[in-house]
Amino acid sequence: MSAVLSAELRGFQAVQRLAYECAEVVAAQLRPGTTEREAARALRAEADARGVRDWFHLPFAWFGDRTAFTGFKVPTQFFPTNRPLEPGMPFILDLAPIHGGFTADIGYSGSLGPNPLQDRLMTDLREHRELILREVRKRRSLRQIYEDVDRLMVRQGYQNRHRAYPFGVIAHKVDQVKERRWSPRVAGFGTQGLRGLVKDAVHGHREGWSPLWSPYRISDHPPHPGLWAVEPHLGFRGTGAKFEEILVVTDSADPEQSAFWLDDELPHVKRWKQAASLTDAKGGA
């Protein structure tokens, strides 16, 4: 797919890889006692070092049962806290840097030392990635896809935790933004990125679609062409796992080209491939 990517998509892909790189570097640095704030700060420093000057949103870091948003009631609880990381604890790093005018929004799940439960959640996320792509290509309404993801989660025995996000979104649109020398942030969200969302929301309102992929009636429309940062988030009794990456939706008639994941060289996808080849090897042997 990457061979035919336009320059624009290549730009998005580059910043998405950059963001995952930051997350992997910081994840490798986490030690027992590291706090969420320290992790978030480290993410920001990594991104700064790679030339990021603006953010769609500043980095989030969640440790322990905060990965499943346990007891979250008000949005301020999403912000990093002084909770220290302990051995075996799951964590999620979520950052959305803007680089060269391209936005990425990624989520990286891991744990300090082995955590078989979160491993299982990550493995089970694969089905969600496949389901979402399949249904988007079928041009089912976003609301229906949301409900199908919900049903799959219930069947797997998990809870939907992306419902805890603002507006309960499983995905939102990301766009190119103008590079300004000064870009203030409101509650951790960059104004440039927000402006794009608001503009889309106004357009969408007139045309009958929404840049927020939610369980509500505003999302009862087929996928709108553009770039969607998709973030299914599984929760299971105090353990959470998610991935977040860009899904490209076009108005092409060819189903293959009508929707595709921007990049297949991401940590979680590579992990699944490795696991699959391992089981294949076992099966062959």
Partner: protein, 606 residues
């Protein structure tokens, strides 16, 4: 199963102690110490259960059973002397390796002394304490409460003082001896059997009157001295497992509130039973003792079961009081770790969440569902959550023979079920006039007969084992809230509720609790699979979608119902309405049934 029993006499100073050994001496040695008024035979049921894996040693405390008594008696029962006895026995039966110590009642009081004095260091590998506090800790506990008698602390102190009546009685001269050698000694076996709901057997032994008369000196020699001047250095130098019977008439569970201070490596367990645990719950004791011994025998056994039990329930490491949820989780783990739990309808919704909640507490879970895939998924995730073990079974609860086979298979493979959750149920809606007899049969077969089959198959086993248990039946708020939309469903659930209450009355004599859970509107897939009577196929789909949507908007999670189930078992509650609307209706059913009847006439907006 009864293994060879070897008896030997061990000399300790002026007295001869009678010790018996079970099992292979190559296995880890477990020394069981009896209490008052008992002799080593109190441990026989537990020793027999441990003998195949351990080298089990019982001995008569001096002055009891076949051990000789010191002369004079006064001063001969000091804890220092008893420590000599223990060391003599330990050196005789396991000269090379340290022993695992288990004490009940006065055996545990002694055990605390052994586990906290310097001269036993290196001779004890672990200590399991049942119903017997350290006199030193007890002394500090009393002092704390006397110095700062807040209302709560004063109440705790007075409560324990009232429970200790027999201690005062034993301090009177001569009277206890006369009573024990006279009428009390004759009546004791009967009194004990009645109080503890025991089947009368060969225990207590014939030596009881003399044992009890001598044993009075245990109290006279130690209690006043130690409570007045408790040692300040009574720190346990070994890992401790504390097993607390919650209904003990002699000891308040509050006595152990600050125990983490004295025993840094502490695991807590609770049992819903009275004082004589070695007689009433030998299976559970043997399981917990075995686990604890093995965990401290080899360093490489990995995470112990029910890790939530080790979370700081009483004092957080950071010094902050632990959160409510941490306390609750710890209480569940203390009670349910290692217990065998069978949940029907475990493939989804409340059943699945209940399986997970028990798994998290360290229980062994059997997930039963019609849907094999869903059941195995529940079992798999239960294992990941820390269940002692988890298995999936594919059974239709409405099939009597299949349920009986399941019960037989479970008993042979995993043992008797400790907690049975009859949860499987189906939804059915529609007016009475459109409900066909087939519809009736379908809903009653699963919702009522499923519960009956479950209770019949497993309650029998529980009663035969005679070591208690618990049955949870999932009824519904519809059991007491009439509704024109749910005649068949409500009827089935009302029957379940009444069945549970009757069963509770019947089984209480066997120490088996029965709880009916009445959840109310909970966001599960019961609506998506419900049958709407008198509706066409397309209409069915629409009604299912619509009702699912309403339940989703209500959004009461099954996890909270699961929590209510565990809490209900913990409290042995009779009826547990869960959601606010279920509680409201439950209250209204008592205050103003007329209002409830009026509400029943409303047609739900579907």
């Amino acid at each position: 199963m009864m293994s060879e029993v070897r008896e030997r006499m061990v000399r300790s100073g002026e007295v001869e102690l009678c010790a018996v050994e079970y099992g292979d001496t190559a296995h880890p040695t477990v020394v069981l110490v009896h209490g008052y008024p008992d002799s080593k035979e109190v441990w026989t049921p537990v020793a027999e259960r441990l003998a195949d894996r351990f080298h089990v040693v019982l001995y008569d405390v001096r002055g009891h059973g076949r051990s000789s008594a010191p002369a004079p008696l006064r001063g001969g029962f000091r804890l220092e002397r008893l420590t000599d006895d223990f060391l003599a026995v330990a050196n005789a039966v396991s000269p090379e390796r340290p022993v695992h110590l288990v004490g009940h009642d006065w055996g545990s009081v002694q055990g605390w002394e052994f586990a906290t004095v310097g001269r036993t260091e290196g001779r004890i590998a672990s200590f399991t304490s049942i119903s017997g506090p350290s006199l030193d800790h007890f002394g500090h506990w009393i002092n704390q409460r006397l110095k700062r008698p807040t209302p709560r602390r004063a109440a705790q102190l007075l409560g324990q003082c009232a429970k200790s009546w027999y201690v005062y009685a034993l301090h009177t001269p001569l009277l206890p001896e006369l009573a024990w050698r006279g009428p009390l000694g004759r009546q004791w076996p009967k009194l004990l059997a009645r109080a503890e709901r025991l089947v009368p057997d060969s225990y207590p032994t014939r030596s009881l009157p003399d044992d009890a008369a001598h044993g009075a000196w245990l109290y006279r020699d130690n209690v006043r001295a130690r409570l007045r001047n408790p040692r300040d250095d009574a720190y346990a130098h070994v890992p401790v497992q504390l097993i607390t019977p919650l209904d003990d008439p002699f000891l308040s569970p509050r006595l152990y509130d600050d125990l983490e201070r004295w025993a840094p490596d502490l695991r807590r367990r609770t049992l819903p039973t009275k004082h004589w645990v070695p007689r009433t719950r030998p299976d559970q004791l043997a399981e917990w003792i075995g686990q604890f011994v093995l965990a401290h025998q080899h360093a490489d056994v990995g995470q112990p079961l029910g890790t939530a039990a080790n979370r700081p329930a009483h004092r957080a490491r950071s010094g902050r009081p632990p959160s409510r949820s941490a306390r609750v989780q710890a209480a569940y783990a203390q009670r349910f770790a290692g217990q065998l739990v069978l949940v029907t309808g475990a493939g989804s919704g409340i059943g699945r969440a209940t399986s997970f909640a028990f798994a998290e507490a360290g229980a062994r879970v059997i997930a039963v569902d019609r849907d094999a895939q869903a059941a195995s998924r529940t079992a798999e995730l239960s294992r990941l959550l820390g269940a002692g073990a988890a298995w999936a079974e594919t059974v239709d609860v409405s099939d009597e023979q299949a349920m009986e086979k399941l019960a037989a298979r479970t008993a042979t493979e995993h043992g008797v079920v400790d907690i049975l959750v009859n949860n499987a149920g189906i939804g059915m809606s529609g007016s009475f006039l459109t409900t066909s007899t087939d519809d009736w049969r379908k809903v009653l077969d699963v919702n009522l007969w499923g519960v009956i089959h479950g209770c019949r198959a497993f309650a029998q086993q529980m009663v035969e084992r005679g070591q208690g248990g618990h049955i949870v039946n999932t009824a519904s708020a519809a059991a007491y809230q009439p509704s024109r939309a749910l005649p068949a469903y409500s009827t089935s659930k009302a029957a379940v509720l009444m069945l549970s209450e009757c069963l509770r009355a019947e089984l209480s004599a066997h120490g088996i609790g029965v709880t009916a859970i009445c959840p109310g509107i909970v966001n599960t897939n019961i609506t998506a699979t419900a049958h709407f009577t008198g509706a066409s196929e397309s209409e069915q789909e629409r009604l299912r979608a619509k009702s699912s949507r309403l339940y989703r908007i209500r959004n009461y999670p099954p996890e909270k119902v699961a929590d209510a189930v565990l809490n209900g078992v913990l409290r042995n509650a009779a009826v547990v309405p869960v959601t606010p609307e279920a509680r409201g209706a439950h209250l209204l059913a008592r205050l103003s049934p007329k209002a409830l009847r009026a509400m029943a006439r409303i047609d739900p907006p579907l």
